[in-house]
Symmetry: C2
Amino acid sequence: MTSAPSGTRFSAIPRTAAQTRVLDAALRLIAEHGVSGTSLQMIADAMGVTKAAVYRQFKTKEEIVVAITEREMARLEDAVEAAEAEGHPLRAREVLLDRMIDQAIERRGVVSVLQFDPVIIRLQAEHEPFQRFIERLYAALLGTEAGVEARFHAAMLSSAISVAVMHPLIADFDAATLRAQLTKMTRRMLDLPETAQDSAGSAKSRSAAP
Amino acid sequence: MTSAPSGTRFSAIPRTAAQTRVLDAALRLIAEHGVSGTSLQMIADAMGVTKAAVYRQFKTKEEIVVAITEREMARLEDAVEAAEAEGHPLRAREVLLDRMIDQAIERRGVVSVLQFDPVIIRLQAEHEPFQRFIERLYAALLGTEAGVEARFHAAMLSSAISVAVMHPLIADFDAATLRAQLTKMTRRMLDLPETAQDSAGSAKSRSAAP
DNA sequence: GTCTATACCACGATAGAC
DNA sequence: GTCTATCGTGGTATAGAC
């Protein structure tokens, strides 16, 4: 505990190649079946190895889930830090939202699973590093104010972004269309003026789907 | 099949008192642990009976999950029908959104679980009555148009509403505050003018949280 | 008709020996 | 890395008590 770094940096956690392979396979399966619906056997089969081989890389199933969560949070961590580096809280929020949209699109389907799986929710509540990071994320999302409306906006935004990207109604949207619409909508939700770039993006996107 | 009613009416499915007790207990547990994370044993324990007693009411676990989904959809069914009864599609959408907000608040936490659990998602894809109903719901939500923007709006709204109500940042909101904020936000997302009622609601709500 | 007692088999995570 | 074992628990099933 004496060597514990003051700031939790998920990005700094080292993984061997074998561990990374386990995490990749596990994430794919968990995204499809949920944590409880994914067994070590399934992970092993997907990797073409035995259960014992998986068990060698991570002592328990929970460790795998923790590692997956850490890896996913590491990506968001970069976004939060980029936002915190901005001087102005309003500008910070914009940067963060932009990055969150990027990531939600880039990892379409994955983000929401991690956000809604009951097992992962419990894990996040139990592991302090996760808790601390989430609070940091919320802080950046809230900016300076913390009233009813601000909190509602932050809640609505952070949930809507990660969920909308995997909605069946827009499953056929390409990344560019999605990003344009999401950017436009988040700005509207916050009552911010649309940027010229947004309008161009959303106009272009209109031709992207029949 | 000859006796199958033309319109699927989930509301018309009869349940005995014993079955209802099983569904109540199961829903609570599933909302907390997910479908895969909930065993017949847990359901039985929660009811203070044995596994066999549960098994007597529903032959399989899947039947329980189907029944739960039917029961929850029956509630939405009323909302969809009320919307369809409106002449104007725009007005229909407003009515539906209003009811969806009501239900998301009333059954806070339950709606989103059913919407995101991998097992239930698979079930919905496999059972045609569920599929048909969902399409009906989307149709009412889309109104007349079905372009990129309209679909995006429908997706964003239907996901955001059910998810936001259980977001930790606003877990302390009371029902009235939630409803006011949700109504206001959905109107803003659709670029509709705010109603006097909304403003009053959101003003009142401001005093509901410190 | 509803619940209990009990059993069955497959599979879950875990573990140590190879 | 694999093989094999352990041990609990999953869902399913039947027979019989109230």
